[in-house]
Symmetry: C3
Subunit: 319 residues, 3 copies
Amino acid sequence: MSAPEPALSPLAPPGFLDALARGIGQVMLQDNRWAGLLFLAGVAFNSIPLGLAVVLGTAVSTGTALALGADRTAVRCGLFGFNGALTALALLVFLEPAALTWALIALAAATSTVLMAAMQRLLQPWNLAVLTAPFVFTAWCGLLATGRLGRLEPTLLLPTATLPDAARVEGVVGAGTVLEGLLNGVAQIFFQQGAVAGLLFCAGLALASRQALVAALAGSAIGLATGWIGGAAEPALRAGLYGFNPALTAIALWTVFLRLDLAGALYGALACVASANLFAALSAGLAPFGLPALTFPFVAATWVFLLAAPKLASLRPRA
Amino acid sequence: MSAPEPALSPLAPPGFLDALARGIGQVMLQDNRWAGLLFLAGVAFNSIPLGLAVVLGTAVSTGTALALGADRTAVRCGLFGFNGALTALALLVFLEPAALTWALIALAAATSTVLMAAMQRLLQPWNLAVLTAPFVFTAWCGLLATGRLGRLEPTLLLPTATLPDAARVEGVVGAGTVLEGLLNGVAQIFFQQGAVAGLLFCAGLALASRQALVAALAGSAIGLATGWIGGAAEPALRAGLYGFNPALTAIALWTVFLRLDLAGALYGALACVASANLFAALSAGLAPFGLPALTFPFVAATWVFLLAAPKLASLRPRA
Amino acid sequence: MSAPEPALSPLAPPGFLDALARGIGQVMLQDNRWAGLLFLAGVAFNSIPLGLAVVLGTAVSTGTALALGADRTAVRCGLFGFNGALTALALLVFLEPAALTWALIALAAATSTVLMAAMQRLLQPWNLAVLTAPFVFTAWCGLLATGRLGRLEPTLLLPTATLPDAARVEGVVGAGTVLEGLLNGVAQIFFQQGAVAGLLFCAGLALASRQALVAALAGSAIGLATGWIGGAAEPALRAGLYGFNPALTAIALWTVFLRLDLAGALYGALACVASANLFAALSAGLAPFGLPALTFPFVAATWVFLLAAPKLASLRPRA
């Protein structure tokens, strides 16, 4: 967290590798590439896959920061790397190493970068460092989601919960699931299901803004796909439970708050995926209390992605 | 959330109805009355009572905003309606439709307006929209309270909790309950019970400020009444557990922070009711952890009502 | 919370005693010494030990505020006393009165003062009073920790949790526990154990900053000692689980953010102890969800102690 050395472009390979090494060093608050390499050696000595996870997590979170236009000096010091490194480690320690786990690691590392930028703005009034909070929150969500997404399998290292148990994949997703789920994803915004209610809501949206209708359906589809890939229960997918939060997130980010250029479109899509995963996590996390997740995944994801936006030069507010 | 049309007075009936329709539209972020009407049609097609709940929730939250002096333009755009609409829906979906449920819906919708104003101020430093957060928090509290208030009955749609089970009404409230409960509501501020301790605390208050003594007893009485109506266990009412948080809330709002005119008196009373309900909710919500609620309901309710006050022109700070 | 009387030095005995009486009065928001004395009488009438706890808690929290250089006028009005009074009460009501409980009361009262200063800064943008929030959070942590620290015994008044049960002391701590635990406390920052990984991490730290290495080991030692004294399970101590959060806290406070003079050293040590206790509390509190605590105890403790620092004149930021 001290002043950086004279900066090469962090996009150029040597600069990028240097940022990675410093990112691993920043796990212990050291802006020092050699420290980072020794830390990596310590992890890799115990486990090569964990060492690879550290490199992958740091690279994806650092790369995402560059792609989204985060502050170059901060990227160069590794400040967008250490949360990705730790998130990757936590997920690979506590989840079985399947292909889906590696995909989740990449996704979570990218999301940790958005959360880093969001928390930098959040803590700005108090001039407070973000520390490893983005890692903690991202990892907790990924681990909680095992209570709802049947294809994420916890290892024996994860503490056993009273509730919820790790989910198993239930039912088979077919064309009916997708068609009903898509429309129900809009209908569930008002706690409803069924074609008529869904179509009336779509008609209302179309009347107000055709863009909003397209966003809602696209968000519902992204949520459905995210739940499906993760192994959510078929009845939940059919009922639209994975769709209503991403549908709202899509309306908010794509049609109300951010400009819908390429960066904005991809950023909004990432927010929709995060929204669906947050639904799985929160739904599992609220099980001990017997509470439904309601629209909090939409609220939380939208707040995080809106907070982060002014720190990310690739994104522009809607005029 | 776009610019409003040339504003009629939102108090005049056509303006008020227009604000309601837009409020329902804002559930999907659309400031459009026709969208709102179609959304309402979609809900009512599935269930007339749910449709009525949407109208009631929107009307009470919008009306509360007008009565408390919230920004007219925001009210006109439906920004004080959508959280009430959703809160009403959630409570009627997850609670059996008794008279008490409808009363709770009205109360929760009014409270969601205060929470909206509070969160607008809370998020001001980041220029962040409140979205549906007031609905989520209000609904969670209402649903959690079923773990302590025996007259609120959850439907089968509410997920089952490990702990707490839905409460049953226990014991019979009599004159002894009320007298002991009233004084114990003050004594519990120091974790005490009994007439001598209670009277010594009252003497201390009287010495410092007679107004504070009256506020404490009135707050304790409001809390006791709230718990009683909701069906709280008689031993808890007698022990003053429903009284100590509202007693502190009453001292804070009525005698320290706000001017005690009619609006301030009613606003403080609403805060006391919210405090008692928050105690029920938090006490149930902390059951999985084995923790007591302590004075957090007082802290949270007072923060919310103080945060909101500068946004509500009817309320004035104490000079 | 009204204007103070002409201030004697709060360090002088009569001034200090006056601040204590007012601190007890502030539990009900009264800046009045006689109210405070009557409140104390009410508690002592029911139980002499509880009365002593009130005096001890108020004295330690007020004394800590003076030692750390908090605002004299606020100290004089009792604003740094009431949270200590309540914390002491809660801990003695819900924990068996052993010597360790009294030590915890003193520690918690001191910590509540840091939390008070931290929350004053946190709420400054909204000009909001802290109220009894520091008491609530400190007491919850102390009570949750009974789920992990076997020497803290809850009384029958504490609600029973589903999970976790109150911990029992497990295993015997020996020289091996201490040696392994010390190094593993550094290794666990990267989810690792073992001498080689630990030494590679230490080498990396030494290379970046010898001060950081010393801080990390000292933090790990403080965490180990805290867990040991509290009665944490021997395998957890050996694995370094009580060390990695304090190790990071020590690096952050002692070598990155604060000047390392005597006040800074003691303040950082208190933060390390708080970090270790927070680990016990959070680890127990997350049991219903099956989640590990990760580095959140480090993040939370460091935020609190950094937020508070500018309000405490004895502490200086690193240039």
